[in-house]
Each structure stands twice: as structure tokens, then as C-alpha cells.
């Protein structure tokens, strides 16, 4: 089989923040009753993680579970293990009403790190990105300039950001512009 390629193909920019293509990543949309034991167990079996609280992300080694809406999670896993993970979910949720679907290729996945990461995002998203308001583990779906976006912050201070694949260039160029040297707002970090 051909090599799978991400829309940004490894792009990287270093400015006030470092913006980089996070590479091929497995992503599964799971819709179901998040309060049920069955879904909890299925997620545990599939990626070994708990279901996050409202607007939170829980992450493990190369995996994460993101709270998308009251009946939707996004599971992050290795790109190559998506089929297996979906099979595990389907097995565990047999007889339940649920939807598990591979969306790994539908997204562009970026990492945003460095001292200027908060300010870079705050130029584009109508979200309070101060350290007091946006803390590690938080997950937020919002608008980034003119496109929908979602991001969460890990303990190391890196933002993990997801947009639709078709606007990967737009998203990368937006972040790059916001992180150009000289644009320090000197308010965060």
C-alpha cells in the first residue's frame, strides 16, 4: 500500500511559538451514551483511558479521549491501530446503540508549543487563554479565525489542535502569521 500522507506533510514553523504537523494520528468518533457502563468499559478496553468530564481531555501514552459533546467522544490512538480499536469498540458495544467511525484522515492535527503558544491562539480564537482560565487537561471546541477548531492543553504546555483536513494550509498559515516574530503581545507566558 502507498504511504499515507498528512495534508501538511510534516510542516513546521518556529516563531513566537513552534507550530508543527503532529503527523499521522488515529482518530475515532464515538457516539453513544457516555454515562453508560458499557461505553465506559468499551473506551477503557479500546484505549485504556477513562471517559473525560465535560470539556476535558484525558491522555495516555500516544492515546487520548476528548469530550466532544454530551454524546460524542474523539478517541486518539496510533494511526495503524484504528481498525483494531474500532473492532474492539464494536465488540464491546455489541447490542448497544452507538456509532464508531474512523475520522483519522478527515482532520489535520497540529502541535503548538513554546512561550508564545497561548498568545498565538488568543489572536485567532474567542477563548480566554490566560493561564488562570485555560489549564492543562482542558479541551475546547471553538472557532479559529474563519474555521471550526478544537484544542486541548497537555501538562507540558503543548496545545494539541485539530481542524478539518481541507483547511490544513489555512490553519497552518493562520498560526504561522499569528506567531511571526514582532507580534509578541507580552501578556501571557
Amino acid at each position: 500500500m502507498s504511504e499515507a500522507v498528512t495534508p501538511l506533510n510534516g510542516a513546521r514553523f518556529e516563531g513566537l511559538a513552534t507550530i508543527e504537523d503532529a503527523g499521522l494520528t488515529g482518530m475515532i468518533t464515538l457516539r453513544g451514551d457516555l454515562a453508560s457502563k458499557e461505553v465506559k468499559d468499551a473506551v477503557q478496553k479500546a484505549v485504556g483511558l477513562d471517559i473525560p468530564a465535560q470539556r476535558q481531555a484525558v491522555s495516555g501514552q500516544g492515546s487520548a479521549v476528548l469530550w466532544m459533546s454530551p454524546d460524542e467522544l474523539l478517541l486518539i490512538c496510533a494511526y495503524d491501530s484504528v481498525s483494531q480499536t474500532i473492532a474492539t469498540l464494536e465488540e464491546a458495544l455489541k447490542g448497544q446503540h452507538f456509532l464508531a467511525v474512523n475520522v483519522s484522515d478527515a482532520r489535520t492535527y497540529l502541535h503548538l508549543s513554546g512561550a508564545g503558544a497561548r498568545e498565538t491562539l488568543a489572536k485567532l480564537c474567542p477563548v480566554d487563554l490566560s493561564e488562570a482560565a485555560f489549564t492543562p487537561g482542558m479541551f475546547r471546541r471553538t472557532r479559529m479565525a474563519q474555521v471550526p477548531a478544537a484544542f486541548w492543553l497537555d501538562e507540558a504546555g503543548t496545545f494539541h489542535l485539530i481542524c478539518f483536513r481541507s483547511v490544513a494550509d489555512y490553519a497552518f498559515n493562520l498560526l504561522k502569521t499569528a506567531a511571526l516574530p514582532g507580534g509578541e503581545v507580552e501578556i501571557y507566558g
Partner: protein, 109 residues
């Protein structure tokens, strides 16, 4: 630019995260309904100066629809609540009454 709180995901966000979707609590009339019933359902919308109930979708967010009780004059938001209901919940109606005693909207008061 308004701020609204999505009752489904808890985000308090600015209007650009949301999309307004017309009047709330419409009762659908399908086949079998009279011309008048269908016409009223489809076209005869409330346009009040004051208390109003609207549908909103958190489209740049959790994607869920919800309802908002709002004042079209002062822009005060009395409350937001999930869309899976046929009428405004009591606490919303009470909150409006506290601010606008004697309000009415369609069959609600």
C-alpha cells in the same frame, strides 16, 4: 455581540460560536394537518418586542441545538436550556417573571 451559555457543553462563548435558528417550541404539522395549521406552523412566527424564545446551535462548538429565552429589546438573556422539551422549563419562566412580571409569549406566561 451577544454572549450565550450552551447548556449542552457549558461553554459561555461569544455569538460567533453560535448560530441562531428561529423560533423555539414550534409544534410540527405534517400530512393530515389543515392548511391553516400548516401555514401557522411554517410561516406565522412570533416577532415580539421583549421576551422571546429562540433556537440556537453551538455550531462552532459541541454542535448541539439549545433554546434561549431572551429579550429582543434589552438583549438580556434570561436563560438557556436543552432543546429536548416542548415548553420552557419552570425555572426559566420564573426567571423571566422575576424580571418582567406579567410577560406572555404564545401560550406561555
Amino acid at each position: 455581540m451577544l454572549i450565550l451559555t450552551c447548556p449542552c457543553c457549558g461553554v459561555t462563548g461569544e455569538e460567533t460560536e453560535f448560530h441562531q435558528g428561529g423560533e423555539a417550541h414550534l409544534k410540527r404539522f405534517g400530512p393530515g394537518a389543515s392548511d391553516d395549521e400548516f401555514h401557522t406552523y411554517m410561516f406565522a412566527k412570533e416577532n415580539p418586542k421583549g421576551v422571546h424564545f429562540e433556537r440556537w446551535r453551538h455550531n462552532n462548538g459541541c454542535g448541539k441545538w439549545f433554546h434561549a429565552a431572551r429579550d429582543t429589546v434589552t438583549l438580556e438573556v434570561y436563560g438557556t436550556y436543552p432543546a429536548q422539551t416542548l415548553e420552557p422549563p419552570k425555572e426559566i419562566r420564573d426567571a423571566i417573571t422575576a424580571k418582567r412580571p406579567g410577560w406572555t409569549w404564545r401560550e406561555f406566561a
